[in-house]
């Protein structure tokens, strides 16, 4: 049994042998492969299916899933419930009619597990009845009836587990827990873990990919009480929680996928403050870190909310776990994010609850609809501002060039806004919004999102308290570097005129290799703490935030800015032209808001300083920085202290979100050659991790090349 790590240090062993074996089997695809046997339920035998409304079809599907999906009880599991239909792994409601999939499912949300724990599903059912008594509009009444139908289906599936668990006394504890939760409130830690898991598993069974959110905040008080009552030991609690993590690997199927096999937006958030500003770090926080450290499970990417008040002990534990590599831990700067959300207009009673959408975009869990719209600003510069290098672009000086680019960027943002408005709303001739268009049914997630039941409106039709559409700027570092190269080479040093320069770019640098090398080697680009270059990034961020803000507040959907690529630098590559900072067409450029690969020469602190110069608080849904540290540089106690220093520095400087990974290029290359020896080796992609060997070759190469 080998839980791969990039580190030379052995992973510690705290869990019992059977739990470790369960983890190993899960990571080695035993349960994921099982899902291939039953991809979906068939709806062909349902009388009159074709004539049903979408909502009726949905209810029928969920009922059939609940009635017929295979029940899986893994040998020795401490918590039960499993999402056993294979099609769910592909982001679809796992049901087929005449050979076709019927509905897409929902992701990028973290549902309200708090209500599940404190009031149970029965409490939610009461809310639906109350809401029904208030609403009379047909669509709302139909939606609320669908909520009841979904809860009934959930209950059916729940009963099937009870019946199965009754058959084997080995699962007496699982049975007792499930007799209480999730329908009634959880009374202790073990029940609480089972309650969250069972609800999570049901949502996933129906095809959805929710995140988990602040697990230590959700579970901390239960554990504290159990420990005080001496009804549970810390070791036992660790075993229980480990089973939650292990069962979270039940969709791992092995083989190669574009972006890996662990991308199901199951993010967890740790630590941070409560409403009064007190640090909530508790025993659950440390148990999660123990489990990640021992098993290296990367399916729940875990982000720690750091602040100036983060306990030294947590900083040290996080650094220790980080050193095993795998990129499982990432960090939010709580001080900056609380400020960002408050300034954007979130009320104080919600701000402190922030977690993410299951990836890294910040949101208030359990009450937020979230969608982001990515775009590539490098293509705007190349294709619009510089007109595909056709030679028509003419600018007297850098300011003229920049202003035209900024104008093109603003236009793009306006475009995104109008497109999304048309997609979501019926509008009148003056483009005023009339009402939401009907969307795909999504009752299962809607019952766990505050606002939906009260309003009688589904998650996708504006039900949640907060509805966020966030344009995400991509290709930002390369745009900054391109503009900087033009500024230096054409306008400052006057080595070539702009039209001559564009000719070189149009030729993909062919025949101009010496200039290309000069531009690559002689300028200090974004990520090197060079104010002259970084200031271009500061300007673009400010202009982008302003463009979004001007459109905000025109409807119930908010329109905050964010920065990301999420690996799209690969997808965008064929549409991008040769870049002005010396890269030929076809090269894979910068991820997220991180330096162009190979351009950072001054170390991690310089990268962080470059990144922090812009007003990141205006990037309300987030701006990710990837930092790759060499294994050799974080060796030993000195290396540990260095990581802690790095984390402290990023809070002090005002980073938004950092996803550090510690990798060894040689190990990654070795894993590419001998995948059989590195089945469990994890790497950070962006917001999610992947077992390296399950990435396709292109993605593997991209990760290797991001390492110096």
């Amino acid at each position: 049994m080998k839980f791969n790590t990039a580190s030379k240090i052995e992973r510690p062993i705290r869990l019992c042998q059977s739990t470790r074996q369960f983890a190993y089997d899960s990571l080695m695809h035993v349960y994921g492969l099982d899902t291939a046997k039953t991809e979906s339920v068939l709806m062909d035998d349902i009388v009159g299916f074709e004539q049903m409304s979408d909502l009726e079809k949905y209810d029928a599907i969920i009922r059939k899933i609940a009635q017929t999906a295979p029940i899986r009880i893994c040998d020795g599991e401490m918590i039960s419930g499993a999402a056993t239909l294979g099609m769910a792994i592909y982001h679809k409601v796992p049901a087929v009619y005449k050979g076709n999939c019927i509905f897409e499912s929902v992701s990028h949300l973290t549902v309200d597990f708090e209500t599940v724990l404190r009031r149970g599903i029965n409490g939610i059912r009461d809310d639906v009845y109350k809401s029904l008594s208030r609403h009379s509009e047909t669509r709302k009444v139909e939606f609320l009836h669908s909520c009841l139908a979904t809860i009934d289906s959930f209950s059916l599936w729940h009963k099937r587990y009870i019946l199965s668990l009754e058959k084997d006394s080995k699962y007496e504890k699982n049975l007792q827990n499930l007799l209480q939760v999730p329908f009634s409130p959880a009374r202790n830690f073990y029940e609480a873990v089972q309650s969250i898991w069972f609800t999570f598993a049901f949502l996933r069974l129906c095809g959805n990919w929710p995140g988990i959110g602040r697990i230590d905040w959700l579970l901390g008080d239960y554990l504290k009480k159990d420990l005080a009552d001496k009804t549970l030991t810390l070791d036992k609690a660790r075993e229980i929680l480990a089973h939650f993590f292990i069962k979270g690997c039940e969709w791992i199927k092995g083989g190669n996928y574009e972006s890996g096999d662990a991308q199901h937006y199951q993010n967890i958030v740790l630590s941070g403050t409560d409403q009064s500003g007190n640090d909530i770090t508790n025993e659950v926080t440390y148990l999660v870190l123990d489990i990640i450290e021992e098993l290296g499970i990367s399916d729940f990417p875990t982000t720690i909310r750091l602040s100036k008040n983060t306990p030294e002990k947590l900083l040290r534990r996080a650094s220790e776990v980080l050193r095993f590599g795998g990129g499982i831990l990432a960090f939010y700067n709580e001080d900056l994010i609380l400020k960002s959300l408050t300034e954007y207009g979130y009320p104080p009673q919600d701000v402190w609850k922030f977690a993410n959408d299951g990836c890294w975009e910040v949101q208030i869990p359990g009450k937020t609809f979230f969608r982001y719209i990515p775009f590539d600003c490098l293509q705007i510069l190349q294709q619009k501002t510089l007109d595909n290098y056709s030679g028509t672009a003419h600018f007297e000086n850098f300011e003229e060039l920049y202003n035209k680019f900024s104008q093109d960027l603003t236009e793009k943002v306006i475009n995104i806004y109008h497109n999304i408005s048309n997609e979501l709303f019926f509008t009148d001739d003056s483009k005023a919004i009339l009402q939401h268009k009907p969307m795909t049914p999504c009752t299962a997630v809607s019952i766990f999102e505050e606002g939906c039941i009260e309003k009688g409106v589904s998650y996708l039709e504006g039900g949640p308290v907060y509805n966020i559409i966030s344009p995400h700027i991509g290709g930002l570092p390369d745009t900054v570097n391109s503009l900087y190269a033009i500024k230096k080479f054409v306008f400052n040093e006057k080595k070539q005129t702009l039209s001559e320069f564009l000719k070189m770019l149009k030729n993909n640098w062919d025949g101009y290799e010496i200039y290309r090398r000069y531009i690559l080697n002689n300028y200090s680009y974004y990520g090197n703490d060079n104010d002259e270059c970084d200031n271009i990034a500061v300007r673009i961020l400010a202009d982008f935030a302003k463009a979004c803000r001007l459109l905000d507040g025109r409807c119930d959907y908010a329109f905050p800015a964010g920065v990301s690529t999420f690996g799209r630098q690969l997808e965008w590559m064929p549409s991008r032209l040769a870049s002005a900072h010396g890269h030929k067409k076809g090269e894979i450029l910068a991820p997220n808001y991180s330096p162009t690969p190979g351009s950072d020469c001054n170390g991690a602190t310089a990268i962080i300083r470059s990144y922090c110069k812009g007003d990141l608080s205006k990037m309300v849904t987030g701006a990710a920085l990837d930092v790759k540290l060499l294994l050799s540089s974080v060796e030993g106690d000195d290396g540990l202290n260095a990581i802690m220093g790095l984390l402290r520095g990023f809070v002090a400087l005002g980073v938004y979100f950092i996803q550090p990974d510690i990798q060894d290029k040689e190990i990654l290359k070795e894993a590419q050659l001998h995948p059989e020896n590195y089945q469990t080796l994890s790497v950070r992609v962006s917001g999610w991790n992947a077992r390296f060997v399950t990435l396709c070759k292109e993605w593997q190469d991209m990760i290797i090349n991001e390492n110096k």
């Binding site: 090398r517 602190t605 030993g636 106690d637 000195d638 202290n641 260095a642 790095l646 402290r648 520095g649």
Partner: protein, 306 residues
């Protein structure tokens, strides 16, 4: 620049260093060294003056340097040649080189500007980290060094010096006032061998070491280890003897020899490089354990050996 500011000839200011003293540090590499170690890891810092480095692999024979060289030291035909004997070190070729094949090692930077660079990472230093002066041998530029250390201290920045210990005896007292940690090299403890491979006199180095110790300067001993040179019992005994007599030495840090300096020697046109045997991971650990068992506190690969 202030009138009393001092210029220092350095090769580089390296940020985010994790193994040059406690915490995260910014390391400044001074040029010039009184020793001549056969295994030098930073050969570009030996010469006190600026030098031109040429990395043939990056050269694309564009000829830009040929046209600007005032003395004809650069030629393209019949072969690409950089004639160091003719070169006057003016650096014109470096500033026109497109590919970065020609670089200059050595720049005069004012202490004030060095401090400004060091302050960029203040947020990362915490209570431990700060400035490390290295090289080369920092004491080789005595005045600039003392000025820089004083400036750092007046900004409350922690200071470390990496030194080979070969400096005038009267300097020790001045250093102790402004240095938080002496990363003090003991390259070998065999008098003849040390002379043979580095040119240094062991007794002068030890005199400085004990002098600093007597003034309560905090010391970390740094020892390069090279198979068939100093990885032997005699060296272990001698190190123990030194370590146990020091009152302010915290531990001995082992620096396994690596040949990475050689490529820089080639770029400097030096042909006299010796390649030593690189210690294996096992040899390193065995030596570290033996030294620790003898009674020393030993740090290796960033951790104190337990």
């Amino acid at each position: 620049m202030k009138t009393n500011d001092k210029n220092i000839m350095i090769t580089d200011i390296q940020r985010f260093c994790m193994h040059d003293g406690p915490g995260i540090r910014t390391t400044v590499f001074f040029k010039g060294c009184p020793l001549n170690c056969a295994w030098c890891h930073n050969p570009e810092t030996k010469n006190p003056n600026a030098e031109i480095m040429f990395l043939a692999g990056k050269c694309i024979s564009c000829g830009a340097c040929v046209s600007v060289c005032p003395v004809g030291a650069q030629s393209l035909l019949p072969n690409r040649v950089f004639d160091r004997k003719t070169c006057i070190g003016c650096g014109k070729c470096v500033s026109c080189c497109f590919t970065g094949a020609l670089t200059i090692s050595g720049k005069n930077v004012s202490a004030e500007n060095i401090i400004a660079s060091v302050k960029k990472d203040l947020e990362f230093y915490g209570e431990e980290g700060g400035l490390t002066v290295s090289g080369g041998e920092p004491t080789f530029q005595k005045e600039g060094l003392l000025y820089l250390l004083d400036a750092a201290k007046s900004e409350n920045i922690s200071t470390c010096i990496e030194t080979c210990g070969a400096f005038p005896a009267d300097l020790a007292e001045k250093l102790v006032n402004n240095v938080d940690y002496f990363l003090f090299d003991i390259k070998d403890t065999n008098k003849q061998r040390l002379k043979q491979y580095t040119g240094a006199a062991l007794q002068d180095i030890l005199l400085n070491l004990f002098n600093i110790d007597s003034m309560n300067g905090k010391i970390i001993l740094r020892c390069i280890i090279i198979p068939n040179i100093n990885m032997n019992q005699e060296h272990i005994n001698n190190l123990l003897n030194i370590f146990s007599k020091l009152n302010n030495a915290e531990y001995i840090e082992l620096l396994p020899y690596h040949p990475y300096g050689n490529s820089k020697s080639e770029q400097l046109g030096r042909k006299d490089t010796t390649v030593f045997q690189r210690p294996t991971e096992n040899e390193i650990l065995e030596f570290a354990k033996a030294l620790q068992k003898s009674g020393c506190i030993v740090k290796c690969h960033g951790s104190i050996i337990k």
